[in-house]
Amino acid sequence: MNNKRIINILFLLPVVFAFLMIIVVPFFFGLYYSFTDWNGISPTANFVGLRHYARLFTMPNFLHSFVITVAFTLINVILVNVVSFILSLIVTSDLRLRNFYRAGFFVPYLIGGIVLGYIWQFLFNNILVSVGQNLSIGILQTSFLSRPETVIWAMSTVNTWQYAGYIMLIYVASIQSIPASLMEAAEVDGAPYLSRIRHILVPMMANAFTISLFLTLTHSFKQFDMNFTLTNGGPANRFMGAPVKASQLLAMNIFDTATANKMAEAQAKAVVLFVTLVVVALIQVAVNKKKEVEM
């Protein structure tokens, strides 16, 4: 029995040690720093209490980032899930090339946000503009990335393009676990395609919707890489009478704040991001679980 105990400890040790050093310790330091005047350079940090938190909610740039991040997340939760649901129906249909399509729709997910950002920056700034000029289409002639009112939609398009293939696979797995006889029976009974989807498929997929909504929600809320290389926060805009960056999502706001050596302020913003994520995720899972039971 003694050998068993030693082996247990040895087996747990590497992961627990790494976890403590990489997640737990920095997490508590992170919480602590948000109450100090840490600037990342000087070795000491003085305790300042809730000063940063109190200031955050009067800062136009932070409030703006918060608002557009919420908007970006809402748009994406809807867009990604609608598109990926349609994709999942297509690749589980009886099309001859369905496996080929499934593989293709998933490809954008394999390419990281950094590389995708550059590719789409080129598409928006060069290709679409050049199409607009050649065909004299007015709205295409200035880039979607250079207008504050369209840039969030441009980012949502890219995000959907990247993420839909992944969520599609979750829906596919769920559809394939539904007994085929159920759908066939409804078909024989004369239920039209759309009502078969609404009344049989969707309720049976409740669990997959919970997972997918949770994933798209947290993914959009934490989005950084694509934001960084696609727009880098631009273009300039005004919010509450102050200059702000029109597409600077929360994660990028934190990054920019820290780059300006305002480490403690960045840390406080990150803690707000963390708390918001936890609250929203808990509400979302609770609501969905309730729906799952009702269905």
């Binding site: 087996f11 249909s93 009886d94 590719i119 960084f228 994660a251 840390q267």
Partner: protein, 305 residues
Amino acid sequence: MSQLAKAKAGSVPVNPLQIGRNPRRTWRIVLEIFTIFLFILFMIPFAMVVVNSAKTSREIIYNAMALPSDWGQLWTNISLIFNNPTVDYFGAFIDSVAITVISLLVIVVFSSMAAWVLVRSHKAWAMWIFMIFVAAMVIPFQVLMYPLVRWMRVLGDFIGIRLLGTIPGIVFAYLGFGSSLSIFIFHGFVKNIPYELEEAATIDGCSQQRIFFQIVFPLLQPIILTVLILNGIWIWNDYLLPLLVLGSNGVVQTIPIAVTAFAGAYLKQWDLILTSALLAIIPVIILYLFAQRYIIKGMVEGAIK
């Protein structure tokens, strides 16, 4: 008999609005065309990268839509990138491969070991450790990143191994960040392995470590695939962690860092930026072509968990 069933049997059209004799067939053609349209829409960005990687900067500005006048320009652009003095692209590729492979190896071995112990110890502490690992998944990277860098410097000085700017350092960080999800996935799988097998081996006098490595670990094979793929895609494409741990112009680089360094150095020179993006995409696509079945399968398994 219902309308659809009648139509299926090939009788007279039930709805005058139906174009074809068989509504299912019409529906299929519409679906097929719609799918092909969607598929092309999904692939256009890649096509644009390939086409414009084979042009000069002037050609792109002149007409970004046109096909390149000389595909040979692609090789010129590629060699420009490989021979570039500011960004060591090939070195970044090798480092990316090394970091990803070693991190995956470490994550798979250590996480499965830990998950096995956590499942087989029916004690309160085992449940608590597991819950803490799972709960940590909601912590966004932004909360950890700056304290982490500072802490890794302190820790590195303390244990006498440089953690910042080195491969061991970043592998250690990936073990920490990857452990939560990996333990969660392994935990769910190990729970369903019958205990009788291990019991019999214990009675035969087999040691715990041998039971794990010779009996349990081989059984984990399908779920190891999932863990490899989920972590592999993330680590290969990760940007912020390598940026903070390795630095933007350190000795060790990764592909995403090299691409941003390139784009930063050659502002708006789309011929070079797109070619560097293409070079970042190609290895992933090649791997995907060979392992497509496993990757899709691994992702689907991971999604249900």
